[in-house]
């Protein structure tokens, strides 16, 4: 069965890059343009992995992560923080909010794919 990834990201260009690299790699994608939609879609769609931007409109990535991790059946879903905050301590802050992994922006699509494969290794090649 195809693994499903929820992308919570407000920048359409960045969503497009992720879409291109990840769908090419055989993942099914669900997209949310803000934190609120992200939390709602996570609950309704129950994805296998979430890529979470931190600077988001309405509800930021830290808060969205906390809300998702509070839901029992979503606790085990890995969340990878994608942030351009390169300030020291951001990774620690993301982990404190409940993120399982961390990718700094600007990310290399290759590295992003490698990170996703760490969590979802058995993806069917298209």
């Amino acid at each position: 069965m195809t693994k499903r990834i929820l992308i919570v990201e407000d920048q359409e260009d960045n969503r497009a890059i992720m879409r291109d690299v990840l769908s090419t790699a055989g993942y099914h994608l669900i997209e949310a343009p803000n934190g609120e939609d992200g939390v709602r879609l996570a609950q309704s769609e129950r994805p296998d992995l979430i890529l979470m931007d931190i600077q988001l409109p309405l509800v930021d990535g830290y808060e969205a992560t906390r809300q998702i991790k509070r839901v029992d059946h979503l606790k085990s879903v890995p969340i990878i923080a994608v942030t351009s905050y390169a300030l020291s301590g951001d990774e620690a802050k993301a982990r404190a909010a409940g993120c399982d992994g961390y990718v700094a922006k600007p990310f290399s699509p290759r590295e992003l794919l490698a990170k996703v494969r760490e969590y979802l290794p058995d993806v069917a090649t298209p």
Binding site: N14, I17, A86, L87, S88, K105, P106, S108
Partner: protein
């Protein structure tokens, strides 16, 4: 306050010691134990009261709305007035003594005169009796003369003893009668009427003489009692005068001490407070205010110091806000710049990876340029962010254990492909017995990566050598290249921002011009130093020292 308390303490201790010395050998254990307890019980409240009184006095003097020298002049004047009063009292006492002495002389003369009268009265009676016995004309005449002479003496008495007028009047009356009787007796004797003369003598002259004697005795006794009373009064007056003089002397001393203490405290206190306030300002704390109650020059000084602090505080807040603003602006800008870069670099990579199909070679080459320039721009953005964080003191070192060997290895892995591309051998000499370091591994790697990257960039032939050793608790890391070298005049300036030896290099090598500036700050944050040894045409050696155990240096710029 403190001086007063110390003084009281000293006095109590000296007192206790003096008591201990004065007291005879302890008679029993109880007496030896009770002494200090008693003195403590008395001194503890006394000390509190005195300290309070001293504090109140100092506060009072402080609040007097007068200039400092007016206060000092007033204090000296008060003491001088007290001394003048003491002198006046002394003079008064002296003149009192003089009056008493005169009175003594008068009294003495009076007593002498009374004694004379007493003596004369007795001898008179005796000579009158003798004259009667002898019935000799010669003797009788001399007796009468003596009587008259005695009358003169009594007249003189009147002048001396005016206060005993009544007694003297009685004496004179009795005496006049006595003279009459004696004259009468003498006349009887002259007339040869001896028996009648004897009768008159026995019946009237003798009792009268007795009364005269008693009266003179009374006068003498009275005068002597006066004398004694006067001596007693004089003694008492002397004691009172003595007390007044001692009182004034003690008063002067106490007043001098109190005023001296109060005025000096009211000056020293504010000066100390202002000094400590200025120390705080010098240490960068503008938030405190000095509280001085004085309404003199010191009060004005304190007000000015407070105004200065307020102004400094305001400026500091502004500066701080501006600095935070700047840092926030840079952080935001860095974020905003990275977001589009993410798309540029991401798409360039995806295209190069052939995600969108095979590319013509020319397009592939163009994409490489896009990728390289995009990464350069990213490097610049990162460097500016690093620098701004260091300058605003926001860069916090993540201090942990690290291994210099691992850091060198990481840097070599990251740069060996670059070196290989230029055909440069990368040589590494790391001592075997390096201790475990304590510092920010990622930042130290950043420094070494910058130095090795530069070395590879500038050396076109020869080699790049990395050495690391530890001497006396300090790591010494050196990166040597066989590049063009750096002129002496440039060696210090290359650690400044955006300074490069030859700006044409920037274009060729793609440096940001910020790497060394950041490296210098990171090394200094660790409490170390960085420098370069170079000779034009012979290459350069960049060296940095780090304490094996580093702690974040506060406010390193």
């Amino acid at each position: 306050m403190q001086a007063a308390t110390a003084l009281i303490d000293l006095v109590s201790r000296v007192g206790a010691r003096a008591k201990a010395k004065l007291s005879p050998k302890p008679l029993g254990i109880t007496s030896a134990l009770e002494r200090p307890r008693i003195s403590k019980r008395f001194l503890a409240p006394l000390r509190g009261v005195m300290a309070q009184a001293a504090g109140a006095l100092v506060a009072l003097v402080s609040r007097v709305p007068a200039r400092v020298h007016s206060k000092l002049l007033a204090a000296f004047l008060a003491i001088a007035v007290l001394l003048i009063m003491m002198g006046a009292v002394g003079l008064n006492v002296l003149s009192g003594m003089n009056e008493r002495t005169e009175e003594f002389i008068k009294l003495r003369r009076k007593i002498e005169a009374y004694r004379q009268v007493q003596h004369d009265t007795t001898s008179q009676l005796y000579s009158v009796s003798a004259a009667f016995l002898s019935s000799d004309e010669q003797t009788l005449l001399s007796t009468l003369r003596q009587l008259n002479q005695f009358g003169y003496d009594v007249d003189r008495l009147e002048f001396v003893a005016s206060d005993e007028a009544e007694l003297l009047t009685r004496f004179r009356q009795e005496y006049d009668r006595f003279i009459q009787i004696v004259t009468h007796v003498v006349e009887l004797i002259r007339a040869g009427n001896a028996s009648e003369a004897r009768q008159l003598q026995v019946a009237q002259a003798a009792p009268l003489a007795d009364r005269l004697e008693r009266l003179t005795n009374q006068l003498v006794n009275r005068a002597e009692a006066d004398m004694l009373g006067s001596i007693e009064a004089s003694k008492q007056a002397y004691v009172i005068s003595q007390r007044i003089v001692v009182g004034f002397a003690l008063g002067s001393i106490v007043l001098a001490l109190m005023l001296g203490y109060a005025i000096s405290s009211s000056l020293i206190g504010p000066v100390t407070d202002i000094e400590s306030q200025l120390n705080k300002v010098a240490a960068g704390d503008f938030s405190k205010r000095v509280h001085v109650v004085n309404r003199d020059e010191l009060g004005a000084l304190a007000r000015n110091v407070n105004r200065m602090c307020e102004e400094l505080d305001r400026l500091y807040q502004q500066l701080d806000a501006a600095s935070k603003h700047k840092s926030q602006f840079l952080a935001n800008m860095s974020h905003e710049l990275r977001t589009p870069l993410n798309a540029i670099l991401g798409y360039a990579e995806l295209m190069q990876d052939g995600l969108y199909g095979e590319l013509p070679p020319k397009v592939s080459e163009v994409l490489q340029r896009v990728d390289r320039n995009g990464k350069h721009l990213l490097g610049l953005i990162n460097a500016i962010l690093d620098l701004s964080k260091i300058e605003s003191g926001q860069l916090v070192l993540s201090v942990d254990n690290y291994s210099i060997r691992d850091i060198v290895q990481t840097v070599v892995s990251a740069t060996e492909s670059l070196a290989a591309a230029k055909n440069l051998p990368l040589k590494v000499e790391v001592s075997d017995d390096l201790p475990t370091g304590h510092g920010d591994e990622r930042r130290i790697s950043q420094v070494l990566l910058n130095l090795v990257g530069n070395a590879i960039k500038f050396a076109d032939e020869g080699e790049v050598r990395i050495t690391a050793k530890a001497i006396d608790g300090i790591f010494l890391v050196a990166v040597t290249d066989t590049g063009p070298g750096i002129p002496d005049s440039e060696q210090a300036r290359i650690f400044e921002e955006f300074h490069q030896v030859d700006s044409s290099n920037t274009k060729r090598e793609g440096g940001t011009g910020l790497g060394l500036a950041i490296a210098k700050r990171i090394v200094e944050l660790h409490g170390g130093r960085i420098w370069v040894e170079s000779e034009v045409g012979r290459g350069s050696t960049f060296k940095f020292e780090l304490p094996v155990r580093s702690q974040q240096r506060a406010g390193a710029i």
